[in-house]
Symmetry: D2
Subunit: 294 residues, 4 copies
């Protein structure tokens, strides 16, 4: 297929490479020319602008850092929707707030374009290995259209319901993850301080009612699991500042919906503090350092 | 074996019955005479006092509601330790604070008695079915002594390290559980309010990084899982006021250890509010009602 | 002076009347025609549009409900800045986020217009009595220009520093106020539950280190002070949903600034819960009902 | 009068000196003999034990660090109540939990002794200058008995109602104080980060609805007020660890009363974190350092 791709950062770059591997032809754009240069080549043409990237293609995929970027790329006077051909299929893989996803999709429908939101989990490593999970929001028919394209870049392609629900699934899951990571940090460090061996405590929790992904697969206490960020000084993994971004999104979405999320709001504050303490670049499991002196 | 058993409430009663089934002889005591009458019979003799229950037996098991009760039963002028024969083996299955466990065990050693703390999980149903989990704190040798006795009443007998660590394991696990239950409540209700089907959201979380026992085994959102309290109006299960008791224990223990547990403290407050709102007798997953109007 | 006034709601209406009393001539606009009809009359002309309200006047005052409204009224293609005469002086009395204030003021400068932000406190009663407090952000010279105009509507006209600082002062003050109101609610209800007479406790706090405006001037415990909302079933005063709006603004501003505000975030959650419990229309001191059964 | 005095630490020592200045005769005791030596002299006799300090005196005053100390000094087999003469008047100036105050007073009544609880505020400086505030719980008649004695050591002698209410008043006031100090810290640092001059912000808050003792009399932001701990690197004043002790007492009392205190619980956690970060010895206004890099 002929695909436009906008946003060539840490995630977009390997996603483009995987699309090329599957034989697609691409027109690519980024505001930073150097990022474009890194991927142009055989079957991968540089577009001079956002509008240009959307012309003469069947599908456009966007991978952008925030809601305002998505609004601008799609909605500006020089944006995608102003010039796109009716019937072009749109996939936004940015992680943004669900309301923006829904508004942009509505604007797209006014131009006779179908759209899905398809945020990812799996990070840069998943993007490179084409093992990303895509959480897709959109009509059933549109999900079927998107699925084979996304399979070039990911392994799990999950339908979450109507447009915007990909975002809802991602940010609500990540809110739970953040809270559970802090819960695990508090439980592990308190058990250790009260005299238990952290490995023994983890093994008990992991066969009991306190178990969670943060305790059994990604334990933040150094030395409990191998091959996780806590065993290599919190390098690699999913950055604390990225978690903070998702917590900010989800608490804003909760405010818009007038829904209380007490622990979510406090997790956002704890990650905020963790970030200004200088830990934003470390893996998000490093939040245990708020409780543990190494 | 000849076993003394003190504390014949909802848990103690079926535990005594299971010990009898395995052929042990018992001397039993409770401050409430009616509770004693319910179990006395063949090979199960009523003791007239705490001290009496500890005489002429090889082992004493206690199952009491709180730390002050444990202090009194063991430490009083008319308590167990004042009259017990050296060498009597002591098992305390109460859920209390680890410091009390350690102090009482130290007093027991001064009388040449070995002691383990062995709090349980599994509730009344587990006590009746002899499928309790015992989290045992004590020396390795003492754990080996306790194990066959506890197997008459439970299925998983876990060694958690030195004396008091049974309590540490239980209350730290339950703190994580309480936080994760609230995290699941916030995530499920927010996803639903933002437009997702709760079952679809649960299925995504449960194969993703937000999964935890509260989401995949005991989901608090009505209709997501069958045969859990949320599917029967939060009856049965583990009472919210029992969770509140454990949260109070763990936050006190954290204060004694001068260790911060921000989310643990807030979970304690949320369950406190839930209780004064009149929900203390419901299953603890009913905390979702703080976020959901049914 | 000839003044344009946009936004004629509960606050704007009495502000317009007070400007007229001081002899100013007005051109007024609101999207709701009925609100316009309520004020037009001698020296008070209806404008047919936002742009119209800004023509042929020396000053424009805006009193709008939120940041997006302010962006639209000033920034739209048909907005104020597109048609305004250079040199027109602009006063925005809306309570919005400081970043928006600063951006709009920058756009205004590009049209050779000076602007101040001047959010108010004092509520509808203050607007009617011309006793509002105006917290003014802008250059010293612009503050001097604004001051006599604002004095027609208020009593305290305070210079808070550069543009946007009026908003900063208001939302940071109100965050402190919300936290202190909850602190007072917790202190008063706990003291009462522990056996103290609420009036005696209040009198002790109010001469001690726990005193605050919420305890000595606006006590939320019924019967402690006369002539405050708590003495009349929380009617009148400053609505809980308005406080929630300010808490939402301030926590967003904190996120933009990457600054932690733990208690501010929790206060936002508590007011959010209070609102969905059905109390949004009551005075904000009714938050004590989260702790007190009346 | 002939007065027994038990507890000769930082507070007890100057309190004893002030009683002597007013012409009273004392019998003094402390477990640390050196502390006794510091005060013995003319009209101030050393007692060999707690029991001894209570013999041949009309009044006993105790000034002890915690509830268990109070229980031991009064309740032990060798304690005050075991040997005291009926009719001896008892004043406990320790800050402890109200339940303990009430229990000890009940035990005292069984020995025909009247008792008041009379915790203080004002710190070491107030003790030295005889300007302490005494918050007194007890019957009206007992308050009248205590008042002239306490006036030798303090300036404000406040009757708070029945026995235990002195404690309630103190710990509930201090909970409000702690929350308000953190509220002021969040408000001041956020306003500064958003671009306001801290002095200007403080002056606005202090004439507005956000004002509190922490903002207008003891502002934690360096340079806003003179002669407060924040102007001298948080030395002197009321130690953060003493505030932590009071927050621990009040949150325990709330748990016993089954009363939620969400912000109180979080303030306790924030001071806990502040303490393990190494700031326990600084003035409690140093909690602003959790938000401010100096």
């Amino acid at each position: 297929m002929k695909i436009g791709f906008i946003g060539l950062g840490h995630m977009g770059n390997p996603m483009v490479r995987n699309l090329l591997k599957q034989g697609h032809s691409l027109k690519v754009y980024d505001v930073v020319p150097d990022l474009v240069k890194k991927v142009v080549g055989d079957k991968c043409e540089a577009a001079a602008s956002v509008a240009e990237a959307g012309k003469g293609v069947e599908v456009v995929i966007t991978m952008l850092p925030s809601s305002p970027h998505v609004r601008n790329v799609y909605g500006d006077r020089n944006g995608l929707l102003a010039s796109i051909a009716p019937g072009t299929f749109l996939i936004d893989s940015s992680t943004i707030d669900p309301l923006t996803s829904r508004e942009v999709a509505m604007d797209a429908r006014a131009k006779d374009c179908h759209m899905v939101d398809a945020p990812v989990s799996g990070g840069v490593a998943g993007a490179e290995a084409a093992t990303l999970t895509f959480m897709v929001g959109g009509e059933a028919k549109d999900f079927e259209t998107a699925k084979p394209i996304l399979q070039a870049m990911g392994k799990n392609i999950v339908h979450c319901g109507g447009i915007g629900n990909g975002q809802v699934a991602k940010i609500c899951n990540n809110m739970m993850l953040a809270i559970e990571m802090i819960a695990t940090s508090e439980g592990m460090t308190l058990a250790a301080k009260l005299g238990m061996d952290p490995k023994v405590f983890a093994s008990i929790v992991n066969t009991s009612s306190g178990r969670c992904w943060s305790s059994d697969t990604y334990n933040p206490y150094p030395g409990v699991l191998e091959n996780v960020p806590s065993s290599r000084n919190y390098t690699g993994g999913f950055g604390a500042d990225l978690m903070l971004k998702d917590l900010t999104l989800v608490t804003e979405a909760a405010k818009s919906a007038k829904h209380p999320v007490m622990l979510g709001a406090i997790a956002q504050q704890i990650y905020q503090k963790h970030s200004i303490d200088g830990n934003g670049g470390k893996d998000f499991s490093s939040v245990i350092l708020q409780y543990l002196k190494l």
